[in-house]
């Protein structure tokens, strides 16, 4: 829910409560005021009548006596300390022939030694008759307020929240890699100023951390690669000296270990760089061409392992990917398919490659993996613990896919290892396999 809407709703709620209480107050106030005025009027009337009695004379037809009752009462019936009182209630109004709200005021006087009780009454508007009027006027006030709150809420929030929205836009376009600190718009609202200060500090810190991490990776790479290069060079030189057979074996083993070290290191550095998003796709790359190139560069290896390659590659498929990464992705996948290839019973090893606008499927015959296929994307996980690969190729592949928002899936089915990459994330990779127009399907279902 939008902030403005929330504010408006809250205000509306508060207004409703205030108006209800206010309505009640107004209602009771009016009711009390009307009674008060009437009581005072009648007390004055009673006083006038009492005066008339004192003066003497016949006032029977006088207008003051129209609704008055005069009675002499014994002394012991005179209430002590009370000069007058009033009662309210419904009573029959013969003039209007209906039951109406009746106010009766009774006053006590002592005139010339006699005690009088003078009672006058009148009909006043009933409080129930007032209620609809009160409710009605408050309804209109509420409606007016609502309209005003909605309109002003929209306008004022637009004005007040403008700096906040500008900050949001700036933050959304913030890139860790950018060299310059972000410049948030100035604002006079102290909360937004605090927010902006906080964001500026935070993004500066993030940028610094990113930079130092990047520097660390590069330094680590630099500092480790140089000694490795020295050792490798020394071994190269040592190999050419006059050495015995057992020394040769030792050197070879060192060479092997060094090779692994160097590969692990460069792969990890690459993974870090990928995680830091250092490779941005500047323009779409023609993956069809790269796929053909990758296949042809591995053609000899396939031939050596007597592998049969079946391809279905559409022309001119462009994907948003850094060219070097695309190259790496494809060669890792193809070399995996070659390396872990094992012929299935009764036929040679097979490799299927299908590249369509939707995605890429690479499948190869091979032994059943000893760990769940999803785990093979993790670093240093190997389907076959005995193999001498370092098990980082697929981690790199997945990282590249994640980076490009491709959906990747690995499964093992009917003796086939199938890696599916969907270029359009809404099309899940496994779905792609079902739409595949390849001889693959016939192989899958023998």
């Amino acid at each position: 829910m939008r902030l403005t809407t929330k504010f408006t709703l809250w205000y509306f709620g508060i207004m409703l409560v205030v108006l209800l209480i206010g309505g009640a107050i107004v209602y009771y106030e009016i009711q009390w005021k009307i009674s008060r005025v009437e009581v005072v009027r009648h007390q004055r009337l009673n006083d006038i009548i009492a005066q008339q009695i004192q003066q003497g004379g016949d006032y029977t037809e006088h207008p003051t006596r129209k609704r008055a009752t005069i009675a002499t009462i014994p002394e012991d019936s005179v209430p002590v300390g009370v000069a007058s009182f009033y009662t309210r209630g419904t009573g029959w109004n013969p003039e209007f022939q209906s039951n109406e709200f009746k106010l009766v005021v009774t006053s006590f006087y002592t005139i010339k030694g006699s005690h009088y009780r003078i009672t006058t009454y009148s009909f006043i508007p009933s409080f129930y008759q007032l209620l609809p009027g009160v409710v009605d006027s408050f309804k209109w006030i509420l409606l007016l307020l609502l309209v005003l709150v909605v309109i002003s809420g929209g306008l004022i929030s637009k004005y007040i929240l403008a700096p906040f929205k500008r900050t949001m836009r700036m933050i959304q376009s913030f890139d860790l890699k950018q060299k310059a600190p972000i410049h948030l718009p100035r604002t006079r609202t102290s909360e937004f100023r605090e927010l902006n200060e906080f964001l500026t500090k935070m993004t500066d810190k993030a940028r610094e951390d990113y930079q130092s991490l990047k520097e660390f990776t590069e330094n680590a790479s630099h500092e480790l690669q140089t000694p490795t290069a020295i050792i490798r060079g020394k071994l190269d030189l040592l190999m050419e000296s006059d050495i015995r057979d057992e020394q040769a074996i030792l050197i070879a083993e060192m060479q092997n270990a060094l090779e692994r070290l160097s590969r692990i290191h460069s792969s990890l550095t690459l993974l870090t760089k990928l995680e830091n998003q250092e490779y941005e796709a500047k323009e779409p790359v023609c993956i069809s061409r790269l796929m053909r190139e990758a296949l042809s560069s591995f053609a000899e290896l396939m031939e050596m392992k007597s592998l049969t390659l079946q391809t279905d590659i559409e022309d001119k498929i462009y994907v948003p990917l850094h060219a070097s990464l695309a190259d790496l992705l494809l060669s890792n996948l193809v070399s995996n398919a070659i390396r872990h290839n094992a012929p299935i019973e009764g036929s040679q090893g097979l490799i299927f490659v299908s590249l369509t606008r939707e995605g890429l499927v690479i499948a190869n015959t091979g032994q059943e993996p000893q760990v769940p296929t999803t785990e093979l994307f993790e670093r240093f996980k190997k389907g076959n613990p005995g193999s001498d690969s370092i098990g980082i190729g697929l981690a790199i592949v997945r990282q590249i896919c994640d980076l490009s928002h491709f959906d990747i899936n690995y499964e093992f089915r009917s003796g086939l290892h199938i890696v599916t990459i969907s270029f359009q994330p809404r099309l899940s990779a496994s779905k792609l396999l079902q739409n595949l127009s390849l001889p693959l399907l016939s192989t899958l279902q023998p």
């Binding site: 630099h222 690669q225 290069a229 020295i230 190999m239 057979d245 890792n332 370092i390 980082i392």
Partner: protein, 228 residues
């Protein structure tokens, strides 16, 4: 061939110096940018090996000077960073090739030769040894006049052997040369073995001498002194 090695790490510089020295190259080393500038002021070099991370600055800055005053020199950048930017900038600024640490010395040598062939031999891109001749433009390999039916990788391998004659080439070095880095899986030496085996067979079938021999435990060697 005269080579200037600009590299701040003495051990690495000495490795390169020793390796190339055996090839008969005259090598000089400089550990700093300043020293390199001084040397470049006095002498001409056929090839300059340039490390990017130097104590007194970035090696890339030297490229402008080299390109202005040493048009004939080949420049090979040596970098430990393997940062794509460095590579692109280096090549744009006029470097001829780029090699990442840790490299095999034989690989470095092959790169130096390749750059040298491209630039200095004016199109006559033929590498010859006795009866073997390789045309690096057309990728044709001949024994005497017989055309060898080699695959691209076999051609590459033979060229690598010819450039690094009488050197022990480890299987790792050959694998790295043929398939490059980053292909985690392809330190697969069976393939190296297969390639070498096929190559030897093809040369022998065409009537060439079998110069390539196995070095126990280590790899292979192209013996130029081999006599029948």
């Amino acid at each position: 061939m005269k080579v200037l090695i600009i590299e701040d790490n003495q051990e690495l510089a000495r490795n390169i110096h020793d390796f190339l020295g055996r090839e008969g190259y005259i090598c000089e080393t400089s550990e700093t940018l300043e020293g390199a500038k001084e040397k470049l002021g006095f002498f001409q070099y056929d090839c300059i090996l340039l490390d990017i991370g130097l104590p007194d600055g970035n090696g890339i800055s030297l490229l402008n000077l080299i390109r202005a005053e040493h048009k004939e020199s080949n420049v090979l950048i040596i970098s430990a960073k393997n940062a794509l930017d460095d590579k692109i900038i280096g090549l744009e600024k006029g470097a001829d090739d780029y090699i990442t640490k840790p490299f095999h010395l034989a690989e470095l040598h092959a790169r130096i030769r390749a750059v040298y062939r491209r630039k200095n031999l004016g199109g006559a891109s033929i590498v010859e040894f006795n009866e073997i001749s390789l045309n690096t433009d057309t990728f044709e390999a001949r024994i005497n006049e017989t055309l060898l039916d080699t695959t691209p990788k076999e051609f590459d391998l033979l060229l690598y052997f010819l450039v690094n004659k009488n050197r022990v080439l480890s299987r790792q070095a050959i694998a790295a040369h043929l398939w490059g880095d980053y292909t985690d899986n392809l330190a697969n030496f069976d393939f190296v073995y297969q390639h070498v085996k096929n190559l030897r067979r093809k040369i022998s079938n065409a009537g060439g001498m079998d110069y390539i021999s196995t070095v126990y435990g280590l790899g292979y060697k192209f013996n130029s002194h081999k006599q029948e």
